[in-house]
Amino acid sequence: MIPLIAPGWLLLGGACLIPFIPKGAARTSFMLALPLFGMGLLWLIPDGSLAASFGGYAITPFRMDGLARIFCLIFLIATFLSALYAWHLRDSFQHVSAFIYAGAALSALTAGDLLTLFVFWELVSLGSVGLIWARRGEGAWHTGLRYLIWQMASGLLLLGGALFFFRETGSLAFDAMTLQSPSAWLIFLAFGIKAGFPLLHNWIQDAYPAGTITGTVFLSCFTTKLAIYALARGFPATEALIYIGVIMTIFPIFYAVIENDLRRVLSYSLNNQLGFMVVGIGIGTPLAINGAVAHAFCHIIYKSLLFMSVGAVMYRVGTAKATELGGLYRSMPLTMIFCVIAAASISAFPLFSGFISKSPILSESLGGGYWVVWFLLLFASAGVFHHSGIKIPYFTFFAHDSGRRVREAPMHMLLAMGIAAFLCVAIGVYPQALYAMLPFPMGDYTAYDAAHVIGQLELLIFSALAFGFLMLSGLYPPEVRGVNLDWDWVYRRVLRRAFERIGGSVLVLGDKVWGYVLGVWGVVYSVLARFYGPGGLMGPSRAAGSMALWTAILLSLALLFAYS
């Protein structure tokens, strides 16, 4: 094929140029032009792959096929919308981070081998952490570090997996594999971290609410969906994924209900949505995979729209805590409308995008005989509506009036949200356009039959009734400021405390045990320090005499080996 430049590489190259363009309209126009050019390239590039050699290994730095193409398209759209949303920003560090992030994610999509995938996998981590650190401040710094450690762990697992994979198969090609060998497990875990598998998920809810207003919009688009792509490519029809996915859809909704920080609510709901996609990949029929891909496509749009609307509120009000908001429909009616459209989409109202992409997954889970899975997914769907569909718009724009009177979101934010909202509705109304781009043919599948529509409407309306009932009866838990402990408590609190406490009171494992452990460590450290410190055996400034002795010893050893 003609070596056209890959869209991801275009963005990466553009990211390097950004600092040299004067801040302001010139730079933002440039940043908007990049994804548009990328879309043009995507249109021009035919299916195929580019073979190359790296360090003596046959690699495929670029591969384009149906699966990669649709993900590339949505990533470019998301880049464009996020960049438009960030028009007002004058922070070079964020601009460069965001475009390295987006470019790396796109390049990872078109990576045809594990080595290239690993390289961009790590670059994704590096670029994205900049969007958290750009918030500046101590909390953001620590949060970014935790985030980076998780991402790097994922990268190292992928690297180890790639090495073993090469040893097992003699190839680095990134194609479908089965969970038969250690290498596949390592790669699976690497993908799992980025996809937010249960117990590996905490970085999402930890980091996304800590990003900058515009940075979180970028963050919500790429990392996790890249992992979904990787799972769809590497582990389609892996049964374990179905159960993992179901757990992912269920447990976050409980947290989403009680969480006060709206961006964290959205992060939990993001995790839940990923669960639907993972289930679709796990079922693995062409229709289910299509559903997962379509869901990822729609999800990127409506989830970023949700983050945009909450971000716009944050931009004007200065906070995204439910306790501090309310009654904002008076000041920001347009933002409210866009938020409601996104909420309707994520709740899978008929005529909105979520509906047409979630339906295939649900019907395939039923069709595949996974009854329990289907029941749980239905529960999760109701839960999604509850926290994302109702809670987010309700507590932001309605509920009790916070008394805050602010200006409507700035024009460029409204524009970005407007385009996203238009896409949400357009896809919901005319799904065939999306279906036509999916990797497998959809046949005459349609989400709009009476059973689907009425069933879904019923589910949603009665969920809303439940919400109304609970609100009116006063049973609904009031919003309160606070932090909710999740699994990350174990490493953020327990382990940290355990390491920090030397003579403190009993924590979990008991003071004495830890005192003992720390005591041993203290001894080991002092021995090591003496060993390596000044005058130590391994320390600097040793006299020449002892070195000569070593020479003699080594020579005798060598001779001993030789003569023995």
Partner: protein
């Protein structure tokens, strides 16, 4: 146009029970339609099930989460200074 929308919403906000009743009416209509279609044999789904399931599960979800909050909630500065939760949001 926006102003009229805001006025309408303000009216609804002051009368939440009306909204609830309207929703309940809509739900009832949907249930009826569902049952009718099932009787007419348009499809084989279990009728009415989606609605009841959605209602019950949502109540269960909220009450479950409410109970869970007793266990998992901590003060906002619990992780401070290593988290952003208690950091003052930067004003625009």
């Amino acid at each position: 146009m926006m102003r009229r929308l805001v006025q309408k919403l303000a009216f609804l906000e002051k009368n939440p029970r009306r909204v609830f009743r309207a929703l309940a009416a809509l739900g009832g209509a949907l249930l009826a339609l569902d049952a009718l279609l099932w009787i007419a044999g348009v499809y084989k789904n279990i009728p009415v099930w989606h609605g009841l399931y959605g209602f019950v599960m949502c109540v269960a979800l909220v009450l479950g989460a409410k109970a869970m909050r007793h266990i998992v909630r901590r003060r906002e500065d619990y992780y401070a200074p290593r988290a952003t939760d208690s950091e003052e949001e930067r004003q625009p």
